[in-house]
């Protein structure tokens, strides 16, 4: 018996970089979503271009899926070493599907089914193209799970396009060889559903949300795991009138984005921790000149170059401590691709409304994971562009760029507006923009300007939403998470519930400034456990520092890989 829920299946494909692990996943995800199935995939790859140990795991289900699951029902090892590395992970009753030209099976397990296919035998004319084994084995998987092979042909046709008829035919041929020569199948309960899904990564959701949210300037310097945002904009920007530019480094990136923001454009840029380090000086400067800018930081395993292709939530304090001095900023961390879509646009709104830098904090897992998102959950009409106060005509009154107002926000006049001129400076300045650092630092003026800027924080925090609170009343355990751990906490909660445990889940997306209500909410529960993908439990530190509320129970992971439901389930036992 498979230890899995009926109606879902977990497939793992493992190989080396260059073996086509990602495209195997890509094709499978397209097939699944076109069958109306939910899915979630995680690609555990390495920081080399060829070689290295790579595996991709996808959970496919009749319903929406939140994580890539734990141990697989089906393993597809693309070479010998990956066979050894992963064979023990397969659940009892599961399948190991392999190309016998490349993988020799030994140390056989008696509790799994071996499905052996030979590319050389089944499709001699294509056996020279190593990559063809993937489609062969995919055909077998489709057969085992009972997915729709006709639809798969369609997907293949779409992928390779009309121009490559020969390639399309070859792929279909080999796929069918795999499909037809697999004599075994299993009823996972997977059935075509009448649902529509987008298949999207967190990064694409950010890009799409920003584009729809009015981003018109995107600057970047490539850095994993943020790079695919650049790729999206580079391929799509021109269509939507978005200037897209790769600069010489992250310092140029963020300063250019600030320049673009200063002249009145909605500007965004993205990087990971190392590049973010280089951006910090300018982030503080945007707060000082009160220029809107959005910086996406997609976190990876740290410190330093660290684990470039692994996940971690270790950069919260970096975001918090970015640049010298006290200044207003916002840090938000979407919990999944749907949130990423909306919050990316919201970040642009917050930035313009409050004229501050906004940091959108995501991580490798969310950025590069593939998620099936039900159609109705992404509604572009919900995105409203809010620019804050922009003055275009002045009725003779003297314009003060940094007017001291009750909210701390001073209406903007954009450069190019005639009849007005001002200078925005990173030095301390008075309401009119004139420096107070050079001739005489009037202490009262300085105090006023500092308070004006910091006052924004009171209003931002009011705009912020409360955390997501889900689950049972009178919970035996309360999980607290932030960012990408939402899915795994949700699935783990369900596992626990099946064991009769009452669980609730408080998930924070609006990270900084901290809403004091979070502490109030948590203090109602008796057994609060924080779940973080880092070593020092950065969020619980932030919460304690801002509210005094302590979370003493912690489940932390910092080995590069994301949490999985069973892992979290096991870890949570110590608090039950």
């Amino acid at each position: 018996m498979l230890e899995k829920d009926f109606g879902e299946v977990v497939v793992r494909v493992a190989g080396s970089a260059g073996d086509g692990v990602a495209s195997f996943g890509d094709t499978l995800s397209k097939l699944a979503s076109r069958m109306g199935l939910g899915l979630c995939a995680y690609n555990s790859y390495q920081s080399v271009i060829r070689g290295g140990f790579v595996w991709l795991q996808m959970k496919i289900s009749n319903d929406k899926v939140y994580t890539h699951g734990d141990n697989p029902n089906i393993l597809v090892p693309l070479n010998q070493s990956e066979y050894y590395r992963h064979k023990d992970s397969v659940l009892p009753g599961g399948f190991i599907v392999y190309n016998s030209d490349k993988v020799k099976v030994d140390q056989e397990r008696s509790d799994v089914n071996y499905v052996s296919l030979s590319l050389r035998e089944l499709s001699p004319q294509h056996s020279k193209q190593a990559i063809m084994q993937n489609i062969l084995l995919l055909g077998a998987v489709v057969k085992i799970v009972g997915l729709d092979s006709e639809l798969l042909k369609d997907v293949i046709r779409k992928s390779f396009g009309k121009k490559n008829e020969e390639v399309v035919n070859a792929n279909i041929e080999v796929m069918e060889a795999g499909y037809n020569n697999t004599g075994i199948s299993y009823d996972f309960g997977i059935k075509r559903q009448d649902k529509k899904y987008y298949v999207i990564t967190g990064n694409y959701a950010i890009a799409a949300g920003a584009a729809i949210g009015g981003c018109k300037f995107y600057a970047a310097y490539p850095m994993t795991p943020a790079t695919s945002i650049l790729h999206w904009f580079a391929s799509n920007g021109a269509k939507y009138g978005i200037v897209v530019k790769q600069f010489e480094d992250e310092i140029a990136v963020v300063n250019a984005a600030i320049g673009a923001g200063f002249v009145g454009t909605r500007a965004m840029c993205a990087t990971s921790g190392g590049g973010f380090s280089l951006m910090t000086e300018a982030i503080g400067s945007a707060a000082m000149t009160e220029t809107p800018v959005v910086i996406v930081n997609s976190m990876r395993g740290g410190p330093s170059t660290g684990l470039p292709t692994k996940t971690e939530q270790g950069d919260l304090f970096q975001a918090l401590g970015a640049s010298q001095g006290d200044y207003p900023k916002a840090i938000i961390a979407p919990k999944d691709p749907v949130s990423a879509f909306y919050m990316s646009a919201e970040a642009l709104n917050i930035a313009e409304k409050y004229q501050i830098p906004v940091i959108l904090l995501v991580d490798f897992l969310l950025s590069n994971g593939y998620y099936g998102i039900p159609f109705e959950e992404i509604d572009p009409s919900k995105i409203k562009i809010e620019r804050g106060e922009i003055v275009t005509t002045l009725n003779g009154e003297k314009y003060l760029r940094y007017k001291d107002t009750p909210t701390g926000v001073s209406p903007r006049v954009l450069p190019g507006t005639s009849g007005v001129c001002y200078v925005a400076a990173t030095d301390e300045h008075d309401e009119d923009g004139v420096l107070i650092s050079d001739v005489y630092t009037d202490e009262k003026k300085r105090k006023k300007m500092m308070e004006k800027r910091m006052r924004k924080m009171e209003y931002i925090v009011k705009d912020f939403g409360l955390p997501v609170v889900e689950g049972d009343d009178n919970p035996d355990i309360t999980f607290v998470g932030w960012g990408s751990t939402y899915g795994v906490i949700k699935e783990t909660s369900n596992i626990l519930r099946k064991k009769g445990i009452k669980v609730n889940h408080v998930h924070v997306e609006y990270v900084y400034p901290v809403k004091k209500e979070i502490a109030e909410i948590l203090s109602k529960y008796k057994n609060v456990v924080i779940v973080e993908n880092n070593y020092t439990s950065q969020y619980s530190k932030l919460l304690r520092m801002e509210t005094g509320y302590s979370i003493e129970k912690k489940i932390l992971k910092y080995d590069g890989e994301p949490f999985t439901p069973l892992y979290l389930f096991e870890e949570s036992k110590k608090y039950l």
């Binding site: 600069f247 010489e248 190019g416």
Partner: protein, 290 residues
């Protein structure tokens, strides 16, 4: 040229520079040039870094952005890309532009973006009270090299040419008419223009004084220099200690500026367009994820 009144570019604030500082000269030369060009101050943005020289935007009427040390150029590039209708001028010191900011300078030259960059070169770090700069002469005694500078200086002119700048000139803060003419040409030039302005620091650079420069300076136009000839330009660019040329070293009109190559910027930039996409565009984006 039909000039507007120079008052259009004057503000009610006295520069904070030391009396005699060369930066007064560049300020004046720039104001003359902008009035010669009859520009509307509200269509001009001047972006600077940090340094004595980088205080310039405060002393001239136009939009201004007084950015970080070394970061005037990328900030200016973002502005130009977002709103190419603006006349974008970057300004700063030799430390700012050739020291900490030299990477951006190289790439701005390479990118050939339509910005005029004015470097007030005093061969010293002024605002931090007198340390070695990249253009400090070999052997110069400064606060950070009390026994003399052990680095050979480079020629920013040579460097900019090698990186691909399409308009490279030198001016002198003691020659305003000459300077303003060159600034006019630089702003009119479509592409990246570097002007290395010799702007003496009367407080911290006791070697390279007005007098020192005056004894050495000559005008390129007086010796029949052809700025369209790369090898002539390079040869002149390395002259220093004995003779110091001012004028236009190099012009290259074969390369299009970045802002005319990029398909979005080319269309007048994004500034004038509505931020919101059409419903069809939104759908297209989402459907690409199906």
């Amino acid at each position: 040229m039909q000039a507007v009144d120079i008052k259009n570019f004057q503000v009610n604030l006295n520069p904070t520079w030391c009396p005699g500082c060369g930066d007064y000269g560049l300020l004046r030369g720039l104001q003359i040039a902008l009035s010669k060009l009859s520009l509307d101050p509200s269509q001009v943005v001047i972006v600077s870094g940090i340094g004595c020289s980088s205080n310039l935007p405060h002393f001239i009427k136009s939009y201004g952005y007084h950015s970080l040390h070394g970061r005037a150029l990328p900030t200016a590039e973002g502005m130009k890309m977002a709103n190419p209708n603006l006349t974008v001028i970057a300004a700063g010191g030799d430390g700012d532009g050739y020291g900490i900011g030299v990477g951006h300078l190289i790439h701005a030259c390479k990118r050939n973006i339509d910005i005029t960059y004015l470097v007030m070169n005093n061969q010293i770090y002024g605002l931090t009270t007198g340390q070695t700069s990249p253009t400090s002469d070999f052997g110069s005694k400064t606060k950070s090299t009390p026994e003399g500078n052990y680095e050979y200086s480079f020629s920013p002119i040579f460097l900019a040419i090698s990186a691909g700048a399409t308009f490279v000139a030198r001016t002198f803060s003691g020659e305003l008419e000459h300077m303003s003419e060159i600034i006019v040409k630089a702003i009119q030039h479509k592409g990246f223009a570097l002007i290395d302005d010799i702007s003496p620091c009367v407080t911290y650079n006791k070697k390279n004084t007005y007098q020192w420069y005056k004894e050495r300076i000559y005008k390129l136009e007086d010796v029949g220099h052809n700025p369209y000839d790369l090898s002539q330009a390079i040869q002149r660019s390395t002259e220093w200690e004995d003779k110091i040329p001012i004028g236009v070293f190099y012009i290259n009109q074969d390369k299009l500026p970045y802002d005319q190559l990029d398909p979005v910027i080319r269309q007048g930039g994004i500034f004038s367009k509505p931020l919101e996409l059409t419903d069809d565009q939104k759908k297209e984006i989402l459907y690409s994820f199906l």
